[in-house]
């Protein structure tokens, strides 16, 4: 029972953070939400007994890709404009 509850909370968190990452005008905030989604996804992988994938997801998803996105935002611009680009 407790396993299902924890998994449900994790999955709802993944959906919520993914929605916030997409639906945000501030791209830096979106990047941080993407990192949070990656972290929750890594916890979900660990619960589903795939610790190898969990380690890779935590290192690549939450660590490296966040850094690369932050660098890309520094080199372009931080705010999405009204036209959506």
């Amino acid at each position: 029972m407790i396993f299902e509850v924890v998994q449900g909370v994790l999955l709802l968190g993944i959906v919520a953070t993914a929605f916030k990452a997409l639906n945000n005008k501030d791209l830096l905030v979106g990047t941080i939400f993407l990192a949070a989604m990656s972290l929750l996804l890594s916890a979900e992988f660990y619960l589903l007994q795939a610790p190898d994938v969990a380690i890779a997801e935590a290192a690549i998803g939450a660590g490296l890709s966040t850094a690369i996105f932050v660098m890309a935002i520094k080199k372009t611009k931080r705010w999405e404009d009204e036209k959506g680009n």
């Binding site: 610790p51 190898d52 969990a54 380690i55 890779a56 290192a59 690549i60 660590g63 490296l64 850094a67 690369i68 932050v70 660098m71 890309a72 520094k74 080199k75 372009t76 611009k77 931080r78 705010w79």
Partner: protein, 161 residues
């Protein structure tokens, strides 16, 4: 300066972030090396371990900025490390050609990592598995150097806005 961005990129970020980055340097490196070294016993291995250590390079570049980062992190050195990792991996694979490509010629031998695995459930022993730990080390070196090189090039090249 645009809305709410950090101070100028060449100076890096605030002293808080710099201190935290320095404090995290040893734990991240040790954890990455642990993942690489225990690749044949526990989840992980060369790729996740190398990626974990490469995040340290990204953290340092973001925290300390372009000037210090570009001076301290030499692109040629990372390129050389990448070559060493790839050549080491291929060499280990070719050394097994006595019977077949990728043959594990070190397992159950008196040489490096040559301990025979005891029968039955056991906690796992470091000195086993022959060429696999060495290949994990080569892959870890390669992944660390390649990802660091990508991050450094991404950060130092091009115009800033």
């Amino acid at each position: 300066m645009n809305k709410g961005m950090a101070p100028r990129e060449s100076e890096g970020m605030t002293p808080i972030i710099k201190t935290v980055a320095l404090a995290l340097a040893v734990p991240i490196t040790v954890f990455g090396l642990y993942i690489i070294a225990h690749g044949h016993l526990t989840p992980g291995g060369g790729f996740p371990g190398g990626a974990v250590i490469a995040t340290l390079v990204a953290l340092f570049l973001i925290a300390f900025g372009k000037d210090i980062g570009a001076r301290a992190l030499n692109k040629k050195m990372f390129s050389g490390l990448e070559t060493v990792g790839l050549v080491g991996f291929a060499l280990l694979a070719f050394l097994g050609l006595g019977s077949s490509f990728f043959n594990n010629f070190l397992a159950n031998s008196p040489g490096l990592f040559g301990m025979a695995i005891p029968f039955g459930p056991n906690p796992g022993f470091m000195w086993t598995a022959g060429t696999i730990p060495l290949m994990n080390l080569a892959i870890g070196l390669e992944v660390f150097a390649a990802l660091s090189l990508i991050i450094i090039l991404f950060f130092t090249e091009g115009e800033d806005k």
